[in-house]
Structures are given as structure tokens and as C-alpha cells.
Amino acid sequence: MTSTLSETERPAISPAFQQISTARKVKNGVATVLVWLSFLVAVVPLVWVLYTVVANGIKRIPYTNWWTQDFGSVLSDEVGGGVLHAIIGTLEQGLVCAVVAVPLGLLVAIYLVEYGRGTRLAKLTTFMVDILSGVPSIVAALFVYALWITTLGMPRSGFAVSLALVLLMIPVVVRSAEEMLRIVPDDLREASYALGVPKWKTIMKVVLPTALSGIISGIMMALARVMGETAPLLVLVGYSAYVNWNLFDHEQAALPLLMNNERATNTMDPGSVGFDRIWGAALTLVLIIALINLVATVVSRLVAPKKK
């Protein structure tokens, strides 16, 4: 060490590492800019879409009749009426879908984590769940059409839509529940077994409650996702401008279907009735999805395992 600098004066980085050629510096700089830019580019459409929905949708939804009436009594180019009929359809179809898809999805996840670990059937199941999550919604709709309507001769209805949504919801529920069950520590299971608790009771009373908060938020996300689906509605149920509580027969509206119907039947000039209705319905749908997510967060906080 023949350095003439004292300990404190020596640069923190030795000079050898500072000799980076200009070309390398430029490349590094360009890459940094591009990477930041790509993130910003992705944020632009998100902000833009949300702005469009809120700015155009806000016009009608503050009126009470937006929430308490349907469009049955007003003409398609007449101001007034509301989306109650579509909200009822969206919630009914979503709820019935959840009633079928959640237990099924949970059972599959329990099978994968608790019983099937590493077996060939479990691997096949995981693979098929992945494939199922890639099945286009229109194909799920056609499958239900072929099964429920053509083969079994049932009418087009809100329930048929629920069946198609089940196909789309199962993989999302399985994935999120599986992830949550996997992070439940094995110590908990073993402690329960050691006390002589049967496996199924261990799963029901120890494993599921521990993972419950995560599972609930996963389920709610999945529900919110399928409630925005449009393709099954187009194939499996007709649009009605009137309130229809009957899930098993006749036309039933839902928010995405209403939006598609207004688009197809009305002129889309900004400020026109159809334009306001579409964005009003879009904002309503976004609000419902946001509300569901909010409820999910609150509920999952409440049931989360207490920490000391």
C-alpha cells in the first residue's frame, strides 16, 4: 500500500471500477429510461380508462331512480330510468355461480394440498386447472349452450349464465385457495394429528380457518372478475329492460349485457342518452367490483389469525 492518500481521503469506490466506457454508460442509461418509460406507458391506459368511466359515468348515477328503476318504462332515447334490473341480474348470477364454484374450487384445492401432494393425478389436476383458466369465456359459454340448452333442452336463462361463470371462476378459486393452503405451516397440522384429531377435522378446524382470510379475498377477486364477463351473457341469456328476478327462465339483464345492448341499439355521440347509460352502467359495475373488494378486505382482516 503505497497510496499517498490517507485512509479518510481515499475514494469509497476504487478508480478501477469508475472506468466505464461511454458506450456502456450510454447503453445503461438508455435501458434505464426505456424500462421507466414502459412502466409509465402501462399506467397511462389505466388512468385513462378509469378517468373515462368516472367522468362520463358520473352524470346519471347520483339520481336515486338510477338505482331504483329499470329502463322498461322509458324509451331507449329518453333520459331517465335506472339499472336496477341489471344490478339484480349481475348479483343473482354472480351469487349462484359462487355458490357452486366456491365449494368445488375449495375441494379441489384441498385435494391438491392435503391429499394429492405430488401424485400423478394431482399433477394432472393442476395442469388441467391451468388449462381451464385459459379457456376463453366464449368457449365456456358454448359448452354450456351445448350441454344445458341443446342437449338438456333447458331455456336460455340467467342460470345458464351462472353455469358458464362457474367454469371461469373455478380455476381462479383453486389457484388462490391452493396458494393460501400451502403456506399454512405443517407444524399446525402435525400438532393437531398428535392430539388425535382426524385429518378431515384438522383440515376443517385448523387448516381452513388459518388460511381463511386469504381464501376469502381470493374468492371475492374471482367473483368480481366473473361479474364483468360479457360473452356468456350474449350466448346464454337475452337482454330485458325490465326487472326479472327469475333466474331460471326468460330474459334477464346484467350490467355488461346492458352496456352491450345500449351500444348496439343507440347512437354513441358523447352526451346522448345511450352514451350516458353505457358509462353510467360501467361506473356502476366498477363501483360494485370495488365494493366487493372492499368487503373482502374487511372480512379477511376480521377472520385473519390473531397475532400477539
Partner: protein
């Protein structure tokens, strides 16, 4: 006493069979989807008066004289999906690198959440935004590209000339936005697994941040990134309502190899005409095209999962 403990309790047996049954059900489901679509498609395919694979005709109104072929649908579907990949792939790569390598650690999570929000927006909203808000903004860009590069067939005058709104290009851009979260989240997962020793090794050799990425992160994550992009492709091929809302369906026009064409994809063709499934044979024509879409997305997803599964190696 010991025998009592090792005995399988009835509750256990029921619960195990129930959950295993649910697993088998999901496995069977994929087969059932293919089977039911096939069974419903066969009568229509038999009644088809033109070649299903090579014809561009689509006339299903008269069950006695069905004429339907998927050539145009296939070309428009693949074309619009490829356009969307051209936009989505580099941007997703950038975001994934940003989230794993550039963003301050405390911000990486909220940033990732912001990108995931894109996936929560219902696709019909993307579609309406695409045609009502984005298309008028993109139209001048399309016109400019067409004016300056129109001599290349891909940018030639399409059948949505002269207003350039409901084009494959517009649909592709909107699809790209919808693909961003799925490609990004998977690539991010793979990039995060880059062994720290590789990164530290590169740093110790004096590499700049970009060189670290180029020499360690990218080679390690390449397969995962490609798999993620294929998964995005699968999504784009099957996306229905956004494309239905955006793509302009020209009367009698055929697909002409330009991104400024309108047209119909498998999914949008089915969605547009779904309300007129009035007799089983005509509906069968749409189910047949749905079957092709199913096989297509199945193959793409299968490939993607194989690549990603290899890389994750669990």
C-alpha cells in the same frame, strides 16, 4: 387401541373421496368441453356445403344450405393477437424489469398492484373505451402510418378506410393493454428467481445495471418470459367482447393482410351472432368455430405451461 387409531375413520374417507372427486371432475371438465363441442359441431360440419378450413364464406341463415369456412376468422384472430403481442411483449418486459430491478423496493409492491388493477377492469369497458375514446385518437396515427408505409402490405389500405377506427390495429392495441398484467406478473415471478450469486458475480466484475440484467436476469428468465407471452397470446386469441365491440365488420369484405382491415375473430363472430342461434344446425356452425378456437387456445396454453413448468421445476 392401536388398531383403532390406524383405522381410517368414515369422516376421513368421505372427505378424501369428495376432494379427490372434485379434482377428477376438473380433469374431466376439459374433456367434456371438447366432447360436447365436437358432438354439436358434427351435424353442422356434415351439412356444410363449402370447405370448413379453406373457405371464407359465412352464411348460416338457411339450415338447408349452410356455407361456412373459418379461413377469414382464423387469419383475423391470429393477426390481431400478433399485433397485440408486438406491443405487449416489450412493454411487459420493461415493466417486469422495472418492478424487479429498478423500482425502489418499497414501491415495487404498490406498483405491481397498479399493473394488476388493469386485469380487474371488465373487458367490455376496455372495448367501449377502445372504440369510443382510443380509436379516434389512434385514427390519425393509422392514417399517417398508412400514408408513409402503405406500400408495405401489412400497412396497406384496409376495408375500414378512410376512417381507420374499428381496425385490427385498434383492437390489437387494446388487447395489448389487457395482456400487460398477465405477461408482466409471470415474467416478474421468473425474474425474481434469478440466483443472487449470479447478480453479485456480475456486479463484482464491474457490470453496469443493464449489463447485469443482460448477462444474468434475461438469460435466466428467457424461457419464463416466452411462456408468459404465449399465455398472453392464448388470452388474446380468445378475448371476446372487447374485440366484438371494436372490430368493424365490413359487408362482403375479405381479410386483406393489412392491420387496417376490419373483420371478425372466432370469438367476435360467435358473440355477434349468438342471439340468433335459432336452430341446432346453424348454431352448430358457430360451435364448430368455437371448437377450433378451443383447440387453438388449448395448444397455445399447453405449450406455455410446458415451458413455464420446466423453468419453475417444481
Amino acid at each position: 387401541m392401536t388398531r383403532d387409531r390406524t383405522k381410517v375413520r368414515p369422516g376421513d374417507r368421505i372427505f378424501k373421496n369428495l376432494s379427490t372427486g372434485a379434482g377428477v371432475f376438473v380433469v374431466a371438465l376439459i374433456g367434456l368441453i371438447g366432447l360436447f363441442l365436437l358432438v354439436q359441431a358434427i351435424p353442422a360440419l356434415k351439412a356444410d356445403n363449402v370447405n370448413f378450413l379453406t373457405s371464407r364464406a359465412w352464411s348460416t341463415g338457411d339450415p338447408g344450405n349452410l356455407q361456412f369456412g373459418i379461413l377469414d376468422l382464423l387469419l383475423v384472430t391470429v393477426y390481431s393477437s400478433l399485433v397485440s403481442l408486438v406491443f405487449a411483449m416489450p412493454i411487459s418486459l420493461g415493466i417486469a424489469l422495472f418492478l424487479t430491478q429498478y423500482a425502489p423496493r418499497r414501491l415495487a409492491r404498490p406498483f405491481a398492484y397498479v399493473i394488476d388493477l388493469l386485469a380487474a377492469v371488465p373487458s367490455i369497458i376496455f372495448g367501449l373505451w377502445g372504440i369510443l375514446v382510443l380509436a379516434p385518437v389512434l385514427a390519425p396515427v393509422s392514417q399517417w402510418i398508412n400514408r408513409t408505409l402503405g406500400w408495405i402490405p401489412v400497412f396497406g389500405q384496409g376495408n375500414v378506410y378512410p376512417n381507420f377506427t374499428g381496425t385490427i390495429f385498434t383492437a390489437g392495441v387494446v388487447l395489448a393493454v389487457m395482456l400487460l398484467p398477465i405477461i408482466t406478473s409471470l415474467s416478474r415471478e421468473v425474474f425474481e428467481r434469478t440466483p443472487t450469486t449470479h447478480i453479485e458475480g456480475a456486479l463484482a466484475l464491474g457490470a453496469t445495471r443493464w449489463e447485469v440484467i443482460r448477462t444474468t436476469v434475461l438469460p435466466f428468465g428467457k424461457a419464463g418470459y416466452i411462456g408468459a407471452s404465449m399465455l398472453g397470446l392464448g388470452r388474446a386469441l380468445g378475448e371476446t367482447i372487447a374485440v366484438t365491440v371494436i372490430l368493424f365488420i365490413p359487408r362482403g369484405g375479405h381479410f386483406d393482410w393489412t392491420i387496417f382491415d376490419g373483420g371478425a375473430t372466432f370469438a367476435s363472430q360467435i358473440a355477434t351472432n349468438a342471439s340468433e342461434f335459432n336452430n341446432p344446425t346453424s348454431a352448430g356452425a358457430y360451435i364448430a368455430s368455437g371448437l377450433v378456437l378451443f383447440v387453438l387456445t388449448f395448444a397455445v396454453n399447453f405449450g406455455a405451461r410446458a415451458i413455464i413448468g420446466d423453468k419453475k421445476g417444481d
